[in-house]
Amino acid sequence: MSDEILICRCEEVTEQEIKDAIKNGASTVDGVKRVTRAGKGLCQGRTCRCLVENLISRETKTPVEELEYPNNRPPVRVMKVKALAELDKEDQ
């Protein structure tokens, strides 16, 4: 893959940027995310997570299954602020 290829489309992070982060010590999907922004966009890594995992696996020679799974956080889909403010009213 060419190094200018976009891995994270939402935040426009290239393969080279991710490889650099791994070279500088990032060894998990979350570690790569924190310094490159890959996975911080609208889809929250749905599109790029597997690609990032594979890059880490290749660069660090670690099987994908042994890589720590990234933290998942709510909301599962984007939600408006006013909808979150009404959360407990939903339960009533």
Binding site: S27, R37, R73, P74, V78, K80, V81, L84, L87, D88
Partner: protein, 360 residues
């Protein structure tokens, strides 16, 4: 991993990475032990406001402003951009009582050589049009700002490496072997290391770690919740107490405080709702923006609220650097650590921060 080192720093959040860099720069042999990735504990969950202007009392305010002074050249010194921006800060005023305490703050800040102002309702709305027009006013300081904590920690770590520090991630401290009142060996999942000096910058994990060697660290956890918006066109000009817009355009909301008795960072819907309600109160016109993520963070609060810094003076080579608000204070606190290591000052010179203040 090295099998022995002059100084071992446990933890690579903002405090640990800042200390590692400053000690390495001062010519010390430094090894960092980080159980996860760099900047993955509380430092990964900070809203990252640079807010020296509300730090009281006087000694604490002075420490904060000294740290801010060091920040001015830090990006250049580290050769990295960590989105350090001075935006000015706004703390919204909703009650008369706030105005009274603001007046005291203004006096203190004037004494320290800085200006804090009370803005009227009109002035507040002019500065931040999205704020609730019913606000009474705001406390404003033009010298405050914010930064990107991940890039800050990364900058410190890469610079520390350039100065010869060894950084070990995914390396968890399992045991501290004490003989003759000093730590002779640190046992980790990646092997053992013999330390000269051990500096614990393990944030919320410090209490459990220090307990292993009979040092009680009086800290308690306080949970905060943050909500992150999608990227938006620039709509926040300042760092508002409760919201700031990052360099990438996301707005990070959150100043909710929930006292907890665990260091669990699980997100509760109640937490998200509390944060969302604060937004609806402060900036009701932002009700329609999309939230893409939430997260929690555990603030590490020393029982008397001030940093715990330097020798424990219980175990000879066990030092501490445990505090909240490391974003503001790390520069000044690291500088003190270097001075203590070099023997340029002693713990009597930091009466409010030395661990021995807890030993009665």
């Amino acid at each position: 991993m090295k099998r022995e080192a002059e100084i071992v720093v446990i933890g690579s959040g903002i405090m640990g990475s800042s200390i590692a860099y400053n000690l390495a720069k001062a010519g010390k042999e430094v090894v960092v032990l980080e159980q996860n990735e760099i900047c993955s504990g509380t430092s990964s969950a900070t809203a990252a406001w640079l807010w020296p202007s509300d730090k009281t009392p006087e000694h604490y305010g002075r420490l904060a402003w000294h740290s801010m002074e060091i920040y001015k050249n830090l990006e250049e010194e580290l050769g990295a951009d960590f989105e350090y921006t001075i935006t000015g800060s706004l703390e919204l005023i909703w009650t008369e009582k706030q105005i009274e305490s603001a007046k005291k703050l203004i006096e203190l800040e004037e004494k320290l050589g800085h200006e804090v102002k009370i803005l009227t309702q009109d002035e507040t709305i002019k500065m931040e049009p999205v704020i609730n027009p019913n606000v009474l006013g705001a406390i404003y300081c033009e010298e405050d700002g914010n930064l990107n904590p991940f890039l800050l920690v990364n900058a410190y770590i890469q610079a520390a490496k350039r100065h010869g520090a060894e950084i070990n991630t995914n390396t968890k401290v399992q045991d501290l072997i004490v003989k003759g009142n000093s730590i002779k060996e640190i046992v980790t999942n990646k092997g053992s290391i013999k330390p000269g000096l051990v500096i614990c910058a393990a944030g919320m994990y410090s209490k459990e770690l220090a307990k292993k060697i009979g040092v009680d660290i009086p800290i308690h956890p306080e949970r905060g919740f943050c909500l992150v918006s999608e990227r938006l066109p620039k709509m926040l000009n300042t760092t508002v107490c409760g919201a700031r817009q990052t360099a990438s355009g996301n707005i990070v909301f959150g100043f909710v405080k929930d006292t907890v008795d665990s260091i669990d960072r699980k997100m509760y819907s109640r937490g998200m709702q509390m944060a969302a309600n604060d937004i609806m109160r402060d900036m009701p016109s932002l009700g329609d923006i999309n939230i893409i993520r939430s997260y929690t963070g555990i603030r590490v609060i020393p029982d008397d609220k001030f940093p715990i810094l330097g020798p424990s003076e219980i175990i000879d080579n066990f030092w501490l650097s445990v505090t909240h608000s490391a974003v503001v204070f790390n520069c000044a606190l690291s500088e003190i650590i270097v001075q203590l290591v070099n023997g340029e000052r002693d713990t009597d010179s930091i009466p409010y921060y030395a661990y021995k203040r807890f030993i009665k």
